[in-house]
Symmetry: C2
Subunit: 469 residues, 2 copies
Amino acid sequence: MDKLKILDRIFNPKTVAVVGDKLLNNNYMWLQGVKTFQGKVYSVNIDPKEAVGIEALGIKNYPSILDIPEPVDYAFVSIPREVIPTFLRDCAKKKVGGVALFTSGYGETGSPEGRRLQEELMKLVPELGVTLIGPNCVGVFNPKIGLGNGPELYHGTGGPVGFISQSGRNLLDFAGLAYQHGIKISKGISYGNAYFYDSPDFLEYLAKDEETRIIGIYIEGIKDGRRLFKLLQETTPKKPIVIWKGGQTEAGARATSSHTGSLAESSKVWQTVIRQSGAIEADGIEELVDITKLLLCLPQPRGYRIGIISMNGGQCVAMADTFSRVGLEVPLLTEKSYQQLSEIFKAVGSSYKNPIDMGLPWYLLQAFKPALEILGCEERIDTVVVEIPALFIKMAQDIYPDFANLIYGTIFDFEKTVGKPLLVMLPPSFHEEAEREVRERFLQGNIPTFSNYSRAAKALKKVVDYYLH
Amino acid sequence: MDKLKILDRIFNPKTVAVVGDKLLNNNYMWLQGVKTFQGKVYSVNIDPKEAVGIEALGIKNYPSILDIPEPVDYAFVSIPREVIPTFLRDCAKKKVGGVALFTSGYGETGSPEGRRLQEELMKLVPELGVTLIGPNCVGVFNPKIGLGNGPELYHGTGGPVGFISQSGRNLLDFAGLAYQHGIKISKGISYGNAYFYDSPDFLEYLAKDEETRIIGIYIEGIKDGRRLFKLLQETTPKKPIVIWKGGQTEAGARATSSHTGSLAESSKVWQTVIRQSGAIEADGIEELVDITKLLLCLPQPRGYRIGIISMNGGQCVAMADTFSRVGLEVPLLTEKSYQQLSEIFKAVGSSYKNPIDMGLPWYLLQAFKPALEILGCEERIDTVVVEIPALFIKMAQDIYPDFANLIYGTIFDFEKTVGKPLLVMLPPSFHEEAEREVRERFLQGNIPTFSNYSRAAKALKKVVDYYLH
């Protein structure tokens, strides 16, 4: 059977076994993570004391995987290293679809014992023909069918973003942070030490997966770099791929070595590979989220030229500087636009060269919609950036109830009718509640928001680069 | 009378007049901002209808500032440009201590009318001998005496950070964002177009102000650059100064021109001035907060070498890369430290080269305190960075109630006994509530927290540069 079919069974299991989950260590964290799974969940735990706690959760426990009275598609395993070989022999007998091994302490420790156990595993697994992800990983996340690897993640609804992560924490963090911005996961995988299944295997799967439109990757090391490069090259024209490579500095490489046993490669080689393959490079978990958000929400930008509308002169300065510095342009507009803008901004105190400073006074708010329309038609502008403080919208709601709806409605309409990319800046605010509320409201209209100008500018530059090169 | 004495009266007024505040435009925003002022507040509004609303707030309103039955130390003014000359003549008669003029629409508009009014003001104010801050500014913030310029800011408690801002919004935002991280303001000022009082005047004042230990500045343009440079040079050895210069790009300079009428200067000249004066350059409001936070909380770092303790391998990689990239070092430790660490980390799954990956298992938590102590004594480490997810602490509280206290206690003790700088990373989290709670708890022990590694690294690098150069 080919790897894609095997992965298909693991990503879409009907029966899941959680092996070795414990109260003592983690309050049955792994069982909590699959309690919403729409298929069947079994527990395997040899300790009769733990079995009592597990059955109290409403989950049937067996002392051996062989005792489970039906086929097992996917097993998530957290048992001591010493008993892994015995367990894997049981898996082979049981014809388990795939095993994700959380257990760590192999080659990545650098210890003789760790290396010995790694060699044993490398020999045993192919002999038995067991499908093994990891070790040192948290396995599969498929929220649509309620299959998770942490009690804190969402379930019951999936999305268009596939995520391949060598680190378990980065998978969990990406899924959670992205969800805050309305981005949901189709399939996620943490693959740890990658002894048998490596990033290209998962990339090949997600490249063909119909639910996946965008792919995010966190990678520490790679065995077959050529295969990864080829797959990236083939996939990026159809599905944008965002890659964060961990361990690009000497200290970082030291950390990947002890984390997943990944060897250092030259950071320049990596950057070249990523760029030449057409993928987008990210420098951390937050940039992964930022870029994915823009890829998902924005219509395709045609160029680097930004038109800025702001409620405040100080923010105009900050945004103009920040967007210019990363290589985007904040150009002057055409005479035609200036004539139209001068009709709108007859009142004193506003400036409309670009950035367009609306000025705070409320009576200028009627100018917002026409100003946005002018930027929508402006041939010199490729992407529109609107700055509006979350607290301003909240306070306005109390004084002029229609005001917030005017803002949201105008922006949502722009997206629909003009088809030009639009980002909303909710500038850094100490009113966290207001920011969250307003961000969620914009999300309902598929409008990406940012509170850090620098992050917005860097992510937008990379996304325009992707579409234009 | 010299400028310092004049400013002293304005920064510490006993009587304040708010002139021209309105329900229609802003729901008496300015009066709301001074409702907690510990001295006396009067309103001046010529409109009898507005007077009714103002008196309903419990504030005495007069149609003219001349009617106020006692001396006025500070007047905040938001009235139409056309009546400003008449009003200023009244102020001269009344011997008002100082006027902050919110009204805008002068030279910064670029219009003939704006320039004409500017010239009129430039002639009239020196003639009358009135002290005028602005125009186009929000004036003084002195939270200790309850004198503010927005209803959303804190009152009744001051701190050691003075803030000079050409933009009003940046003053409000800095004050609010800094407060989230336990940083309070001694005196803040927004000075707008700076026709009469410019940044050097305020800097000279804050340099001598006993309440002020650290000074932040947001500046768009400067008339007397030599005076600013000289003052910076004199002050930075005694009080650290953090400067954000707005308008360093072409588009940014276009925005400062229409915001406060500030002319463009070469960004290279500015950077040289800032560095040679011993000040610290910041690139935005968030970096202003980050750097100020470190200056305020950390003991003086002796060098660039960072020791990292983390709960997770993926975070070790990200931090090692991020801190290395900005020019900090994540070095190997001495043999002595490795011997001690090997005693602690007998369990498998942890790595302690630096970064020190504690591993997630709970039983390793007893190793946290001794590992921290080893880094405290390690001669090759200048600053310690501890990464611990906020949610992890929160969850631990439920399972092992003493655990969170162990973490907090150990970190607070380190600060007190070792005297080496320590930063806590609360990595980017989708559990905003947990993050806020844990951040506030660390603040009680004066420990700075960051959720973005890149921001932490950049700010720390700049702070070490400041102390070492």
